[in-house]
Subunit: 356 residues, 4 copies
């Protein structure tokens, strides 16, 4: 019989009566699993892949693109770091800048995407889609960045991870609500935070301003490249949870060709890949590129279809579900504290390269 | 002070530590509410608006577009009808056709969107994105449609609601799993199901086939227009939960201009509007058109911003959340049984029109 | 050498200096062809496939979804019919209703998508994204539809193609600018226009209104199914240019399963397929479904990759380019005048079916 | 009369018979202008705004995001620089890296987005959606980057613009086809090219590799911030043509808050804004953020609606049209040669800041 061909091996879809009392996060995931279709199905795969990453001691990278911290996603991310299930972070600068408001207890408000921007301008309010920030929130954050940066003493250029670690540590000393901040939390748990574009945010702009006066703090993006690649090189298995695409996605993905294409070190690519995005493959850009395309670049291991998934969804909807699922499962890994291992890891990478 | 202008009246966004044990559906919604941003924020608004519709005894229409029943969404919809919180349905024909498979206990399988379609063709499997259906599932469903249609005796054209009610009733007699079917459940609870395009599905194709032999069953879409408009006219308040856009969205929205523009009966538009869609306004089509645009057409009442929302999301992710929330709340309205009131309502509409 | 594997057989991409004087439509297409990448590349494929369809005497269907006629696309479509390169049309009702304004010389204005809809409502203007229509344009069109429908004498239900042909013919008698109208032009050249959802537009609503008074004109969608399938059955080769997706796409695609799945007549699917859409496959719906998925349904012939293309683009950008290219090529086919062949074709289909 | 309210002041839309012989780029733009609707309408606005920018001597920035140079868009960009209508560029690193292949006459091929990536991997071919690059193209480009970087002598960190200028100049000496390269062309015409993320591409990776051996070339992103802001500060009027969004869009937009928010220098925002994107506002990110949202940030001047436009379209379709239009118009501005003015402009900015 033709249908015995092996194509019909997954479960039947059945529109069963859903549970309607005391529905918990597992019931919801079970519902999605029972359908398995479209992005509801992908959401379950993302949960399962994340779970597998945790259980197989994969070094997990979280990437952040889009205006996510202003939307309050930090609460989840902090828990993920604390539980040892996110080992390092790659973020746009803007997500890190807006993260500071919360640590400094400066207000960020729910707003309305239909607001009149000329009126907002008159009222000293800036808008991120449907989020309103009083100008004072920005200006006070700027002052904090400048003050902290002035106290960062170094004789040589540093990676952005060093800067972010320093700022995070200062938040514990000077911030009113450091527990709200992913930069502070990352510093506490030695989770390195890289940004591919250190000049491309108000943090970068404040550093640039200092440069015009007295303080010359240089972020050397090559160090970010090397530190991030060193983490990948020194990990048994690697995988990412990508919230959005953008430069952070590219920066994570390129760690593999850095090894194989540039350094001529034998690698086959990352082991796991989860992306939540509203982009699409057919526009051709890297943000929407499929895990399959990444296989050709040795960015993702071949023949591992089941370890890769793209959930086409707004991050603010999908991420809380996945994170709630993971946290509810009670995972608790020993912290990798990769920030402290940077130099050791870079030495090993250096050694490997010297033998190529 | 400028910021006292009234723009900053919504809650502050705070990245609080999320609950990570025993997370239930209300916790999840609370999390989204705490952010309020982007489509996570819209999801909460959708929950709240649906809740308001139920509490204010609004006549609630559910519209279905896209291949939703094959994905198994029927389980939720059946409960919504049973609990009296969905009063009538407008659906594409395809959603109704594929609903039949479940009632007939014919298999629909989880599949893979990356499958080789030429191979599937060889193996007599048809694909809906990542859902696989054996050809036999289609062919047996076709036979059922033809058999049932032959027993539908009528001297005059009927509305699609009549046909769907008849099929639904037959499913309780001849189907193995009628409880899986929205068409069967709708018949049980006298929930009318309209389709704007009765010829545009395998149900329509099977009727067309019968026409070539001996059985001439005519669906008169004008009757669908009149019956649906009569429901709106005879309702105190009206609102919709639109899953996708397409013809069903248009068919629901046009009930208002049918009254105001075509019949010259004074109306201002629907009271409530929820849409889940992956479309966007800037392509210009009705599927992605905003509730605001609908105001200009008297399709939606003006100045009621808070009663309207579009959630930009895959229905298979967002709908289970909204529906779980609503069902968990334990709402239980007296069934409106609109199917039985069709003729009474049309008489009243006729009377009103005769007096214009 | 590995690269001799056959993967690198298409042209090299070279960023040559573009022509910058007297650039004509062929230069533009050449530019896209020189790149071949992303949707610019798809646009060229669409031009080539359309060209092949014309040269191989394919029966070409044009489908219309989204609010295209209000945007003025009719001018191109009229030429395509006149030149015999579009043989029949499947359209949403709304596109046909709004087409009437132009024939009746009723104004449709360029507007602004940022307009205040409550203000527009007060000013009796309805909005389609960035198009403004005075209410009078609708009301006068409604009167015309009612007046014409009253003069349509028939003893039995008709297909929508019959209705549209009748209206089109009347436009030549009573319309001020029939040459602007695709319905009028289609009537002139005997191009059948089907709608899958005859009740789902102001045309349908006006017919429904007449039903409330004195005039009972019934559109039998089964006839639309049979007439459209008969065209496919009686054509050597078939193909479509799909502007958008929606019910018209489904209605066209289902003509093949109507033959193979429902009537048990051996077919393998359409020969050619062009779609311009802003939808995407990963939402699971038919609007965004790939030609590949259609292969599993016998909607499109297998192993004919090069005859199918999806251009991800707003129709208002891509269609004028493709149509300008085709028209500039000077194609001029003998008109098929399929409207006149409906009954002959249906007889042949009946015969075929009687022998299954 | 209500309709005299001023809302109906734009032209009527009329589906006129299009020109079908000798259609040139102006005919095509005229057609779009005649419709004015949806993204076809936006395309005309983009042409007009670009034209205005040129005529009013606006300093024009071009931003590049997504994999555009591999698709061959460089040919147009080179002409725009030569004609003096693009004054500086902000690009992702990947676009600059892939630009090098063409200058070095290394092959980039048209491919197929449906290719089997595991097979491509076996055949040493990497894929960018539907573009195929032999691994050798990458490896030879890497060698060139390393060779050139080793000859770049500097005692202090430099901006990315300096690096790109140096590479561009070297391409004229050592490249086989420098005329194909935007980096070479930019160097020739002293058009500065900034990248917000110098480590985030194979250029950055090659520099990082050199750092592991003997060559320490540091890109200081703060210098990029200052040089780009200095250009804005020293320009009478400013505007951008944004191809895609991403970090380059953010980097351009932030030049204004750098002045107003960070440096406390009075500005109101950019004068003109054109973006071509497939993103959407409702996902909340900066890539899809509207010009209106930018007004609240003082990134774009308020009350200048007509000077801003977003074209929702694949860049590979829309950009060649806009660029062909602009080039065909024969504009020829005196080159601004901003690269040479960097230090002078930064001095002036420094002076201004010292007086705040």
């Amino acid at each position: 019989m033709k249908n015995g061909s092996g194509y019909l091996k997954k479960p039947r879809i059945l529109p069963k009566t859903p549970k309607i009392k005391n529905i918990d996060i597992f019931d919801l995931i079970n519902y999605y699993a029972g359908s398995g279709a479209y992005n509801g199905g992908r959401l379950v795969e993302a949960c399962n892949i994340f779970e597998n990453m945790i259980q197989e001691d994969v070094t997990v990278c979280l990437t952040l693109s889009g205006a996510l911290t202003p939307a309050g996603i930090g609460g989840f991310i902090n828990q993920l770091m604390k539980k040892g299930v996110v080992d390092f972070i790659i973020s746009t600068g803007a997500n890190l800048y807006h993260d500071l408001h919360f640590a400094l207890d400066l207000p960020v408000y729910q707003g309305d995407f239909r607001a009149d921007d000329t009126e907002l301008l008159k009222n000293d309010i800036v808008r991120i889609y449907d989020i309103f920030l009083p100008n004072q929130t920005l200006l006070k954050t700027d002052k904090f960045v400048q003050k902290v940066a002035k106290t960062f003493h170094t004789n040589s250029p540093v990676s952005s991870a060093s800067l972010h670690h320093f700022i995070g540590a200062q938040l514990w000393k000077k911030g009113k609500k450091p527990e709200y901040s992913i930069m502070a939390t990352a510093a506490k748990y030695d989770v390195p935070i890289f940004t591919p574009s250190p000049g491309d945010s108000s943090i970068g702009m404040n550093l640039a301003l200092l440069k015009m006066s007295n303080k010359n703090l240089i972020i050397d993006t090559d160090l970010d490249v090397l530190e991030s690649v060193a983490i990948i090189y020194n990990s048994e298995k690697t995988g990412a949870v990508e919230l959005g695409g953008g430069a952070p996605k590219n920066f994570y993905m390129q760690t593999q060709p850095m090894l194989s294409q540039i350094m001529n070190i034998d690698t086959q690519g990352h082991d796991y890949f989860i992306q939540i995005t509203a982009d699409a493959p057919h526009w051709g850009g890297l943000s929407g590129a499929t895990p399959s395309e990444a296989v050709s670049w040795k960015k993702i291991k071949p023949n591992q279809l089941k370890n890769n998934v793209v959930v086409y969804c707004d991050v603010t909807i999908a991420a809380p579900i996945i994170f709630s699922y993971i946290l509810s499962k009670g995972f608790n890994r020993t912290l990798k504290r990769l920030y402290k291992k940077r130099f050791e890891y870079m030495d090993k990478l250096n050694n490997a390269y010297s033998q190529v």
